[in-house]
């Protein structure tokens, strides 16, 4: 095993980690805003990937060019989910915590079924995009271009998300998070902020989905794996923390790749989970969690 192979695997893991981080960021944003864990998060990713595939098949539009389109589409889906389901789930008088968990679980089952109905259960992939099959050479290290592009785009999206959190809107988000009742008094429309939060959360997943569709298979159940990693990322980084999601995403990508290389590819997630359990022993609220 050469050093360049290890470096290549490690960099590949970090690139994937950036995708994980972006998927997790959407989840974390929504959680931080309203204490809701979206158990249909992976299905949003799946919807984005199918959108890319179908648009590509119908109009030949390259996945990369679809970024704004699919992000906007997912934004709309996110807002719709909030308005139709989550707003109601938050309004129930009983068991609010449990209702939101199982409403989003029900949604995830529903969306998997809908995808099966609309797109069939076969695995699909896009292999004639602009990026497909190309590689990047850094000395001895060879990296597939789709992964490199995915990592970079996700990093950019992450930076944009960080920037948003510093704007006036971001401050409003923060205020809503800090004190839900007080914001109503100072004239921030809570419902509007929550809708936007869901829109942005879903749009970030949409961006990750577009980049993933360049090199990952597409199926109705593809979301569950990524969702699982996203929950672990968010819990590891600390619920509601963007920086935590980034660090934890990178860590998970790296550990996953190295476990696959040094131990066994089929155990790569066990390595990730072991790190998670170890960290939670010492920091029950995650690396960046507010204690």
């Amino acid at each position: 095993m050469t050093a360049s192979l290890v470096a290549q695997v490690a960099i590949g893991g970090l690139l994937m980690g950036l995708v994980y981080a972006l998927v997790a960021a959407g989840l974390s944003l929504i959680f931080g805003l309203m204490d809701v864990v979206n158990f249909a998060h992976g299905e949003l990713l799946m919807l984005a990937m199918y959108a890319v595939f179908e648009i590509h098949a119908a109009f030949g539009l390259d996945p990369l060019l679809q970024l704004p389109l699919v992000a906007a589409l997912l934004f709309g889906i996110g807002v719709a989910i909030y308005r139709l389901l989550i707003a109601r789930a938050l309004g129930v008088r009983f068991n609010t915590g449990m209702v939101q968990i199982f409403v989003t679980f029900g949604l995830s089952i529903f969306l998997v079924g809908a995808a099966q109905l609309a797109f069939g259960s076969d695995f699909r992939s896009i292999d004639n995009g602009v990026l497909s099959g190309r590689t990047v050479h850094l000395g001895q290290i060879v990296l597939p271009l789709p992964q490199v592009a995915a990592g970079l785009v996700c990093l950019l999206a992450f930076a944009a998300l960080m920037a948003i959190s510093r704007t006036e809107f971001g401050q409003a988000l923060e205020a809503t998070r800090e004190d839900r009742d007080a914001v109503a008094l100072i004239g921030i429309d809570r419902d509007r902020i929550f809708s936007l939060g869901w829109g942005i959360g879903a749009a970030t997943v949409g961006i990750a989905g577009v980049m993933l569709a360049n090199f990952y298979y597409i199926s109705p159940t593809v979301g569950s794996n990524f969702a699982l990693i996203a929950y672990v990322t968010v819990a590891l980084g600390g619920f509601g923390s963007l920086a935590g999601a980034l660090v934890a995403g990178l860590l998970i990508g790296l550990v996953e790749a190295l476990t696959a290389l040094f131990i066994d590819p089929s155990l790569k997630q066990v390595g990730v989970f072991a790190i998670y359990v170890a960290v939670l022993m010492f920091r029950p609220r995650g690396l960046f969690g507010r204690l």
């Binding site: 864990v37 199982f102 409403v103 529903f110 998997v112």
Partner: protein, 336 residues
């Protein structure tokens, strides 16, 4: 001081529960006689199994308020324990059942020990992750045949071995017994010191501590009972189906399936798991049978929509339709 209190709302309610429970048991014991179809009987077997499993989940998730998304772990441990004892050592599943329950309880304690320090969503996700970790390990563990699973060979028709040429009707009574025992356990603990303490822990930990409630041990007790009931269910399921593999007895979707009847029926209530299973399992199975056989996804859409609809329309659970008070913070507005 130890004079017996006059009958009050609590003692009256508990007596009524016993009477209704006994009547229901009689009805359920007679039910398969007019219903002859193997398919419908099989449906009833599954419904009773999930009624028992959800009753077990409800001890920890409902009364004690620790929303576990990893109960498939205890189910799988029960299933693998009794199956391995039977196929490797010839120990009859009627005994393996207890070994499975004991190991299920031990596993629940082992998971609870680190996880009960976590609160809210952190706890739910930790249980989910631990469950999946074990799933992945078992998928790669050659000793238990890894992802290939284990087939339980048919040897001889026997109640001790829980093996029957035509398994559906005998297993209907096995599962009825299982669901009944789970119900009785829930009835007993609900009226005991533990039942009160768990609900106090769920509602307000600091107030519970001020009343000398030892929070961590009480959660561990709930976990052990919960894990034992679900572990026993896993052992029975393995014997009924005759084949187990990691995905079918340890998967994430199973963890949700175990919790759902309690959630839909009414968390922290005695009748919730039963009622929820009676609604959810037939809907799920029948929609697969009628609509989903071609894998077109309509069955999943119906099931998902049903879960969303019931959770939103009846957040306090279906039991509220019968005027049973919700245990989860809120009086039931009787709008029936």
């Amino acid at each position: 001081m130890a004079t017996s209190p006059r009958p009050n709302a609590i003692t009256r309610r508990r007596t009524r529960e016993l009477v209704v429970g006994a009547a229901l048991l009689v009805v359920l014991a007679l039910l398969p006689l007019p219903i002859a179809g193997t398919y419908l009987r099989g449906l009833m077997v599954l419904t009773l199994l999930y009624a028992g499993l959800a009753q077990g989940w409800n001890i920890l998730g409902g009364y004690c308020g620790q929303i576990s998304l990893g109960h498939a772990l205890y189910f799988g441990i029960g299933a693998y324990t009794s199956t391995l004892l039977y196929t490797r050592l010839g120990i009859p599943p009627t005994l393996g059942l207890f070994a499975g329950a004991a190991l299920g309880a031990l596993a629940a304690l082992a998971v609870g020990w680190p996880c009960f320090r976590l609160s809210g969503h952190y706890y739910a996700i930790a249980t989910l992750v631990v469950g999946l970790m074990v799933l992945l390990l078992v998928q790669n563990w050659g000793f238990v045949n890894a992802a290939m699973g284990i087939t339980i060979p048919f040897r001889t028709e026997s109640w001790v071995q829980l093996q029957f040429r035509v398994a559906v009707l005998p297993f209907y009574y096995v599962m009825l017994g299982y669901a009944a025992i789970a119900w009785i356990v829930a009835w007993v603990v609900e009226g005991s010191r533990w039942g009160y303490i768990w609900r106090a822990v769920k509602d307000d930990v600091a107030a519970a501590r001020s009343l000398a409630v030892r929070v961590f041990p009480s959660k561990m007790a709930a976990a052990a009972i919960s894990g034992a009931i679900v572990g026993a269910g896993g052992a029975l399921y393995a014997q009924y189906v005759g084949f187990i593999d990691p995905d079918s007895v340890l998967g994430l979707s199973l963890s949700v399936l175990i919790a759902l009847p309690a959630v839909v029926g009414g968390v922290g209530t005695l009748w919730g798991p039963l009622l929820g299973a009676a609604v959810l399992i037939p809907v799920q199975q029948l929609s697969v049978a009628w609509l989903g056989s071609s894998g077109n996804g309509v069955d999943l859409m119906i099931y998902g929509a049903l879960i969303m609809g019931l959770a939103l329309a009846r957040p306090q659970g279906l039991v509220s339709l019968f005027g049973v008070r919700s245990q989860a913070g809120g009086e039931v507005v009787d709008d029936a």
